[in-house]
């Protein structure tokens, strides 16, 4: 018991430290702030995928919730006139979670390839619905204003404040998910991935567990989508197109699924890879992305986080 509570404090400390380092770096390198904010928002969606991947489930439809979160923010702004960041993000998270819960009841019956395909079908249905909806701007989407924050009464937030808020939201999410992963329910994921039959024969419900993980994953993607709508300032149905979900999957695989930090590492790495590829091989950046995906799967099945762990361990030993 002592060990685990120590571990818990350590997690909180690491999460806090990581957030502070991120904020310091972002303020130092202000021209990268925007790229990092977008990466962090995508990282939240990928963090949701990590929860599912730990259960052995591949979703090709995480974009549905990313999109739902973004549209919740956009619609609340234009129809309800809500401008404050806190209720907007709450709304994004909750509405995404509700949709996820609804579909989760059904999806929790499916596994493997069927789960992947159904998630893809659902996200494409949302995409189709949005594209045909002229009130919401159809495929062109619509613009989202910069939000306010009740603690800072000076109207729309600056980019830097948005960056800090995003970093803090991500830090809190990492901490919360790390705690969740340490609970018996959180530990059930990898067990189900290994052997669902044994899990059932220990008295646990795989379906219920998948349902909760799926809902949680949807909530995280919704939060990420909300943050994205602020930073990009524009939302459109592409957020729900299946290739968006493919990108989240790539981030999750790139980062690894070992802990809650991994997807953010993956998201930032992807943005770096993409920036560099765009700059040096603009006509072959998809090749770069595809090849790095294959390389990661072959040589680093644990994702980039496994390098970080090795490095941390060796440096801990050294000093």
């Amino acid at each position: 018991m002592k060990v685990s509570s120590m571990l818990r404090q350590q997690h909180a400390l690491i999460a806090l430290l990581a957030t502070l380092v991120l904020i310091a770096l972002g303020i130092g390198l202000s021209s990268w702030q925007f790229v990092v904010v977008v990466a962090l928002a995508k990282g939240l969606a990928a963090l949701g995928l990590v929860l599912l991947l730990r259960c052995g489930l591949v979703s090709f439809g995480q974009g549905l919730y990313y999109c739902a979160g973004a549209y919740a923010v956009g619609m609340a702004m234009s129809y309800l006139g809500i401008r404050d960041l806190v209720p907007l993000l709450l709304l994004a998270t909750v509405s995404a979670a509700l949709i996820a819960a609804l579909l989760g009841v059904l999806l929790s019956r499916y596994r493997d390839i069927f789960f992947a395909i159904l998630t893809l079908a659902f996200t494409m249905i949302l995409y189709g619905l949005l594209i045909r909806n002229p009130v919401l701007g159809g495929s062109d989407g619509f613009n989202v204003l910069s939000p306010g924050f009740f603690l800072l009464a000076d109207g729309a937030l600056s980019r830097r404040t948005m960056f800090i808020i995003t970093a803090v939201v991500v830090g809190v999410s990492i901490w919360a998910v790390q705690r969740y992963l340490a609970t018996p329910m959180g530990r059930l994921g990898p067990a189900m991935k290994d052997n669902e039959i044994r899990v059932e024969y220990l008295g646990a419900s795989a379906r219920r567990n998948i349902f909760w993980n799926y809902t949680l994953a949807g909530a995280l993607a919704g939060l990420g989508g909300g943050l994205t709508s602020f930073s990009i300032g524009h939302i459109d149905p592409d957020l729900a197109f299946w290739t968006t979900s493919g990108e989240f999957l790539f981030i999750a695989i790139l980062g690894g699924t070992r802990n809650a930090y991994a997807p953010f590492l993956g998201a930032i790495a992807l943005e770096l890879i993409r920036s560099l590829a765009f700059q040096y091989v603009p006509n072959a950046w998809q090749i770069v992305i595809g090849v790095s995906m294959l390389v990661i799967i072959i040589f680093l099945p644990g994702g980039l986080i496994s390098i970080a762990r090795l490095w941390l361990r060796s440096s801990a030993r050294g000093g």
């Binding site: 159809g138 062109d140 524009h234």
Partner: protein, 426 residues
């Protein structure tokens, strides 16, 4: 340690600044980001010809070979540097690229964007970063009708006139028109085009009846069922805003079935497939060029120069997107040079260029352009339609009709949608 670095870098920065402001004052080129589709469905028909247009302008302007009034080198004597960016990847990618251009590549202004979604997304970012941005092709009138912008200009006409003009041309050519049909892609471009065409047509001929409106999804590729449905419903006229591969696929599949011979078809972006004989356009097909561009550009010294320069450099004819790109760049040049003159011959700052650009009238290879809408930020221009006729294996156009901008564009302060609904009055 870090303190030292800071001091050194500050010193370097001061030195660089001093260098830049004195010795190289007039040598530093004006850096322009050019954003067009280089991949995806819109690359072939729009992105590539537009980029070619920019490449031609780049060579010709920097060599000072453009006829008057654009005969000075670059913009007002300062040479140009173009940075080319691919428009694909979606709005999130494009906002990122825009910020990268401004924050890291240090461009002075940005010209580009075909997708209306990208234009809508970029406009507020341009405002935030205070970066002069000229939209060259995107059609949606929402940019300046739903919002006001300071740093954003569109020196080409918006999409309303394409379809209002198409409806007028249909009624002009077929006074006994009773039924109509449409085939448009199921996304904003196709939906908006269809809404405007249908709305305008109903205003012009209230008794006209719809037979079928087909809305296949973008990139569907197989249109046999749609063609059957259209032919079975036997309309007097068919409207389509298809473009690129979808348009070519539609025509290829319609050809052996005789759809377009049977039903006169209006292709609002049809000009892009009239070049290089890749595809046979049946007689009677109504072709648009989204303005007086491409094959419909009026004869003038500027047009002759552009056509020849393009043929020399690119080995082919300029398409309407090439013309729109040329018009956008030349409009910006006109504004820059007016601002420079107003500034006593010194390089103008962004605010001065904006002041000069607002409400400007300038000429382009496509004729005269007025920045008449959106508080002087949105151009108006005439729209042209013509009917295809193959003469000795060569495509020509008959019944070419030019509709002046006052007739096909809503007046300032009126939204396109409302204007059409209320009878397109002036």
């Amino acid at each position: 340690m870090s303190h030292q670095i800071k001091v050194i870098s500050a010193a370097v920065a001061v030195a660089l600044f001093a260098l830049g402001s004195t010795a190289q004052a007039d040598e530093k080129p004006i850096k322009v980001g050019i954003v067009t589709f280089m991949s995806g469905a819109a690359a072939g028909p729009f992105g590539v010809p537009a980029r070619h247009g920019a490449e031609v302008l780049f060579e010709e302007l920097n060599a000072g070979k453009v006829p008057a009034p654009y005969d000075s080198v670059g913009f007002g004597g300062t040479p140009l540097e173009f940075v080319y960016i691919d428009e694909s990847g979606g709005t999130s990618q494009q906002v990122t690229e825009f910020r990268n251009m401004v924050d890291r590549a240090g461009v002075d202004m940005v010209i580009g964007y075909t997708s209306s979604g990208n234009c809508l997304a970029i406009a507020p970012v341009a405002e935030e970063l205070k970066t002069l941005t000229m939209l060259y092709d995107c059609g949606t009138p929402r940019i300046f009708e739903d919002d006001t912008h300071h740093y954003v200009f569109r020196p080409v006409a918006h999409g309303t006139m394409d379809n209002v003009g198409a409806a007028m041309y249909a009624v002009d050519q077929k006074p006994n028109l009773e039924t109509y049909a449409g085939i448009n892609q199921n996304y904003a471009w196709g939906q908006d085009s269809w809404r405007d065409f249908e709305g305008a047509l109903k205003q012009l001929k209230p008794d006209v009846k719809l037979t079928t409106s087909q809305m296949p999804k973008l990139g569907a590729g197989q249109y046999n069922a749609e063609i059957s449905a259209i032919m079975a419903s036997n309309p007097d006229i068919l409207h389509s805003s298809f473009y690129g591969g979808d348009l070519e696929g539609l025509i290829v599949q319609a050809q052996p079935r005789g759809m377009m011979e049977h039903v006169p078809t209006i292709l609002t972006t049809g000009e892009t497939i009239t070049h290089d004989n890749k595809i046979k356009i049946p007689d009677g097909t109504i072709i648009g060029a989204r303005g007086p561009h491409g094959v419909f550009a009026p004869d003038s010294e500027l047009n002759t120069w552009f056509r020849n320069a393009y043929r020399d450099q690119i080995k082919g004819d300029p398409w309407y997107p090439s013309y729109k790109m040329a018009q956008t760049i030349l409009g910006t040049k006109a504004a820059y040079e007016k601002a420079k003159a107003d500034n006593g011959g010194k390089a103008p700052n962004t605010e001065q260029i904006i002041a000069a650009f607002k409400g400007l009238t300038f000429v382009s290879p496509s004729g005269e352009v007025k920045m008449a809408l959106g508080n002087g930020h949105q151009a108006v221009q005439e729209v042209v339609y013509g009917t295809a006729k193959n003469v000795d294996g060569k495509l020509t156009f008959e019944h070419v009709k030019r509709y002046p901008s006052e007739v096909v564009t809503p007046p300032e302060g009126v939204k396109s949608e409302d204007w059409i609904k209320n009878g397109m009055k002036h």
